[in-house]
Structures are given as C-alpha cells and as structure tokens.
Subunit: 432 residues, 2 copies
Amino acid sequence: MKQDLSIGLLGLGTVGTGVVKLIEQHQEELVHQLGCQIKVKKVLIRNVEKDRDVQIDPTSITTNPEDVLNDPDIDVIVEVMGGIDEARQYILEALQNRKHVVTANKDLIALYGPELQEIAWKNQCDLLYEASVGGGIPILRGLTDGLVADRIQKLMGIVNGTTNYILTKMMDEGVSYEEALKTAQELGFAEADPTSDVAGLDAARKMAILARLAFLTDVSLNDVEVEGITNLSSEDLNYGKTLGYTMKLIGMAQCQDERIEVSVQPTFIAKSHPLAAVKDEFNAVYVNGEAIGETMFYGPGAGSLPTATAVVSDVIAAIKNMQLGINGRNLSKPRFKRKLKSLDQRFGQYYIRLHLKDQVGAFSQLTTAFSELDISFKRIIQTPDKRDELAEIIIVTHQVSLDRFQQALLKLNEMPVVKQVNSYYRVEGENK
Amino acid sequence: MKQDLSIGLLGLGTVGTGVVKLIEQHQEELVHQLGCQIKVKKVLIRNVEKDRDVQIDPTSITTNPEDVLNDPDIDVIVEVMGGIDEARQYILEALQNRKHVVTANKDLIALYGPELQEIAWKNQCDLLYEASVGGGIPILRGLTDGLVADRIQKLMGIVNGTTNYILTKMMDEGVSYEEALKTAQELGFAEADPTSDVAGLDAARKMAILARLAFLTDVSLNDVEVEGITNLSSEDLNYGKTLGYTMKLIGMAQCQDERIEVSVQPTFIAKSHPLAAVKDEFNAVYVNGEAIGETMFYGPGAGSLPTATAVVSDVIAAIKNMQLGINGRNLSKPRFKRKLKSLDQRFGQYYIRLHLKDQVGAFSQLTTAFSELDISFKRIIQTPDKRDELAEIIIVTHQVSLDRFQQALLKLNEMPVVKQVNSYYRVEGENK
C-alpha cells in the first residue's frame, strides 16, 4: 500500500463535517480507489467551543491557518469555510505552497475562479470545485468530461434549492411566498437572511461558473442578469397553472457564434419539460448540445453528505493525479473571448399579464400594437375584472427578440386603453 | 501544435457515421481540447456499395480489418460495428497491437468486458465504453468519477429507448402494444426484429455493465433476471394509472454487504418519482447513494450523433491519457467477489391483480392469507366483474421479502376462492 495521504480542512461547518464523516465511513472504498488511506490531518476552525456533529482528534484542530497551509505533510487543502476574502487568501497561499485545492465555494469561484486557476496552473496544482454548483450532482465533470465532444448551445439550471423549495410550495400547495419561506427556514432549506437565495444572487454565481465551463469562455459574474422571486404574485402563478406551466427560478446560459447570454429569472416552464418535475429542494441542470440534443443532471443541490461526495470526488481526483504526476491539467483555458449578445440577438417566449380598459376596440388596439411589431400570440386569455371595469388579459407570445419585446412593453405603457402591464415572465418549453 | 492523431473506425453504420460527422463538425473544439487534430485514417466496412450519409475519403475505406488494426499510425481504434465474435477478435488484436480501444458495443462489454479490460491493462491500453449504456448520457463517468466518493446502494435505469417509447404510447395514449411497436418501428425507434429490446435483453446487458461499475464487482450477464414487456395487459396499465403509477421497463441493481441483485422487469413507478417523467425514447439512470441520497442522469439513449458524443468523449480521454502517458489506468478492478442475494434478502412492493369468486367470506380469506404471511396492504381496490360472478381485486403491498411474496403467490393459487392470479408487478416510489 502506498503512503497515506494527508489533507487539511479549512472550515468545519455543514460541508466540512460531511467531508470528515464521508472519509471515515467510506475508508474501505477510498483505499480501493487510491491504494492508500486519506487522513484529515489538520482542521482550521474559528470557534473551538462550538459543538460539532462529528468526532475529530482534538490535536488536529487549530485556529491558526498557517498550521494547515504550511504543514509539509499536507498535499490537498479542502476549503469549506465559505466567504470570499479570507478564503481567497488561504487558497492563494495553499497554491503557492504547491498544495492542491478543492473548494465548495461558489462565491469565490464565481468571482476569482479564472485568476485562481491561472495560479494553480503556474504551480502545477489542481484547483477543483465540483461542489460549488449543484451540491452532489457531478455536473461540472459532466460538462468538462462527459460532454467534451459536443458543442453546448444552451444550459438551463435550477441551481438554488431554497427558491425551488419555496416555488414548489407556492405552485403545488398554493401557499404564499412568506409562508413558504418560513417553512423553508424551519426545515433548514433557507437561511435566516435569505436575500442571496431569493434575490437570485446565489444562482447567478453558479450560472457564471457553469457558463464558463460549458462554453469554455471567460464569463464574469457581471455578465449575469439577475431577477429574484420576491415579487411573484399568486395571480400569475394561478394563470401559469391554467396554461400548463410551473414557475421556476431558471438560470439560463446560451452561446452562439462566440456571443453569450446568461441570466437568472423566474420563468414559466411547460409541465412536459424535464425541469418542471424538479421539485422541492432538488437541483437540476438541463443541457442542450448540438449533437446530443438534450440531457439533464438531477440531484441534491446542498446538504452535508451530498455536497461532501462532490468534495471528496475532487480530493480523489487530485490524489490520483498526484499518483500519476499530472496535476494542474484539469481544465481547459478559455477558447475565445466572450462577447455579450445584443438585445436583437436574444430570443424568448413571454407571458404577459395586463389590464385593459373595458371599452370598445381596446382589444383590437392591443392586437394591432403587437402585430405592428411582428409579435404573434400563442395563447390569449381574457377575463373581465369586475372591480374597475377592466379586462385582465394574459398573452403568451411566440418566440420574439428581446429588443422587440421591450419595444412592445414601451408601446403598451403608452397606450391609453392599457391601464397597466402587471407582469411578464419568460416561458420555456412546449406542452404537447 | 502537436502531431495529428489518427484513429481507425471499425464499422460505418449509424454510430460510425455520427462519429465521422462529429469529429469533422467539432474540429475546432477538439483542437482546443487536445492541441492537435483528430483524423479518421481508416474505416473498415463490410459493403463498399452501400450508400452512406457521410462524406469520406474513398482511399480510407477498406474491407480488410488488418488495414485498420495493423496501421502503425493509428493510435485509437473505435469499434462501432456491433456483434460479438468478430468485434471481440478485432478488439483483442487491437489491444495486443497496443492500440487504445473505444467501443459502443454493449453486447460485447456485457459478456466480455472484464476479460478485455484485463488484456487492456496488461498492454497499458485504454478500453473505454461510455457509449455502451445510455447513448449520449455520460452515466459511466458519472458513476466512476462523479460518484466515486459515495457508496452506491441502488440503481434504477430506463436504459432501453424502444421499450420506453412503446410503454409511453401505451400509458399516455392508451394504444395497444402491437400498435405502439408498429409506430416505433416506423419512426426508427425499434428494429424490424425487436426481440432483444422488448424481451429486456438489451436492458439486461446495460444493467450488467452499470452494476459492475456502480458496485465495483464482477457482475455477469447471467446474474441479471430478465422479464420483457410483451405480456402487459391494458387492464393492468389502466389500474396502474388509477393508482397513480406509470409502467416502465426498469433495470434495477442493488448491493448490500457485498451481495447484489440485478433485474430487468416491467415495474409500476409512482408518478412523483423522477423516473416517471422519462418519456418516449429517452433514457435515464437514477442512483441512490449512501451519502448523496438520490441523483439522476437523463438524456438520449440512442441515435447517431448523441451516441457519437459519448464515443468521441472516450476518444478524447484516450488521447489526453496518451499525451500524459497514463493509459490503461481508467477503471478500478473489482473490490470484492459478488454473491447474489437470496430471496429472503430481497425486498419489494408489489401490485397484484386477481380474480376472487364472488362468495361470502372470500375477501376475508384473502386478507387472512396475506396477514398469516405478515404481508400488509397499502391499497386495495375491489370491483365486481359482472361476466362470471367474480370480483377483480387489486392489491398493492407494503415492502415484503421476495421469498414471502412467492409463498403468498403459491398460497393464493391453492385457495379455492381464488379463481386466478392474473398478474403481479413490482412497484417503486411513493406518491405523496
């Protein structure tokens, strides 16, 4: 048997304790894979007093990062502390000390991934971050290895479990946003401060990482357009249901002719689309490739042990690479410099809800306005709204370019017969 | 740029033409990945006269296998000719000539995979077969790399597109088996002789391969219990629908304490289970891991270009390994010698349909028989069958061991009040 491998852990929270448990519980399988044992030699923690759900040798615990980062026995550093500045500094130091780094830190990788990757390459080190997107789902490997021969055109991801849980409750059980959020918090699916999840920021970070790997280009977090789920109304969700849609927070990334488009926004998904069946706290990434057509990766997007499986799969990869002497070759450099698509290069179907004054010819003025912009309808529902002598109109358009859709919105807002445009959402998929 | 890499193709059918097209269409991406071009130098075909849906240099075509297998310029042999004996002989020769082999041949790998793998290892060659299961879905890599840190307990796969297409038509549109098969044949989803698909043999081969990789043990094709879809009745499908199930041909593999169970059988899947949403010709593999919980890989299980993406991803992997000098290290050896589970170690839920004589006390005798075997019911439906003074009874059991379930079947067949047990199927998943 080869010499035992020592790893250092930065952080011992939810994911960190999962990593310690998994390495212990699956020791036999790990020895089979690697021909040696993996030992967690040092663990950096902030608070020694805190109770933790794991047995760990007290002598391996430290509050001094240097004990982990400078230990010559440690070959692989696992960063599961979260946060940005401190984590970045430790990872930089680890890479400069020629230690391989495995991280679950999506915030850091979304912001500094390419920079850290360059430094890892320079030091012939691995920098691996499978756990940063989709928890336990092996989606990054799926893109970089499994679909390496294809040209990926579009990704759609449900990459935030908190919002998917909330939206599932709202759609399937008709509960309010506030109530769904409260239940999510009670069950541990949402943080006390849920802003980063419900505003779509967490999903945006993951989409930046996915888009980089799918298209092999330099996507930055700023490229991602973000809209959260806090303003959804039960009216829209009910109309959506009637139309055969379910509401999801969809991260979308598209690439065509080296131009990209990345967004996170509440989206109506046709019930027959595979993403519509992704419920509760689960995550999924749906991929359209030129050759493969469609494929989807589904699983738990968070959780201690599920996320730990992704972290430890990276640790195993880094150690196998060490044994073969090939570290630092894990990912391809960008293939082209990304340009963003302009509005007239972006297309989508839209759902619009608006209030029309209930007067003769109003409806005809509305349809004329759309047809002048060459926007055609797939579905229209008109219901009288008794309160104010208004008609409530729901429109689902066919594919339309985003610039033309925005022109339509402007025009609608200027039309005297239109009381107001209440809401509009992207629509994906076709019900048969 | 590094020297161009030459590959040899054995076969130029559906998958072979896909491989040629994909390498041509994605040349730019391949050069980015590998730093060199991939060239299809020689193609072995049987019939020179046949029209093919691909442009290929006539001088690269040959009917003599030695032209491909002995060409010193060729580093990777891609076997996409199908069949067993000839393919096996060519692959053996290729490996002995120290050429890496990529194959899409599930029949061959199911029967001779371990033997060929040993020979590949001895010759420090790669033997890769991602395309043998689930077409374009990167499921084998998902198991061997993505879920490497977990202990996989159970797999359920919809791994045959033909039968899934037929069952989708039967369940969703109420058409007969014969009609669905005919449509599948017209659309090219079923062969003229569909036996291997509809009898479950094709799925069994894929399950043997999946179980080997998931559990890292020596599963043989003979270990797989197989039942096809040819005897399904519309009565059962309708009752299943009423109960909230859909019928799927499910390949199932379980492992516990180094004991395995692998089967392919028509199974009722609860509508809320992710596998229930896998429709038409699509495939999916659903995995239960000790740490990850549940995860699923979904996509096209066949087709020229989708399958070619899996083949070419293997070609890329073999070439990257060549560049790094690490070929022949791709898969782990078996971790233990598999034993099969005995009947009392196998558990399942079952749906049973039977006809009971419509006489006083019959129902009570039935329930007593089950309760004596400690089998409890989850659902019972009784409907009178007017024709013969019989009552039709549908029972869904809770989890029961297979030996006890078989005892129950024997007992039912001996009971005078039971006219006959019409059918029984495994049930998976719970509807909420």
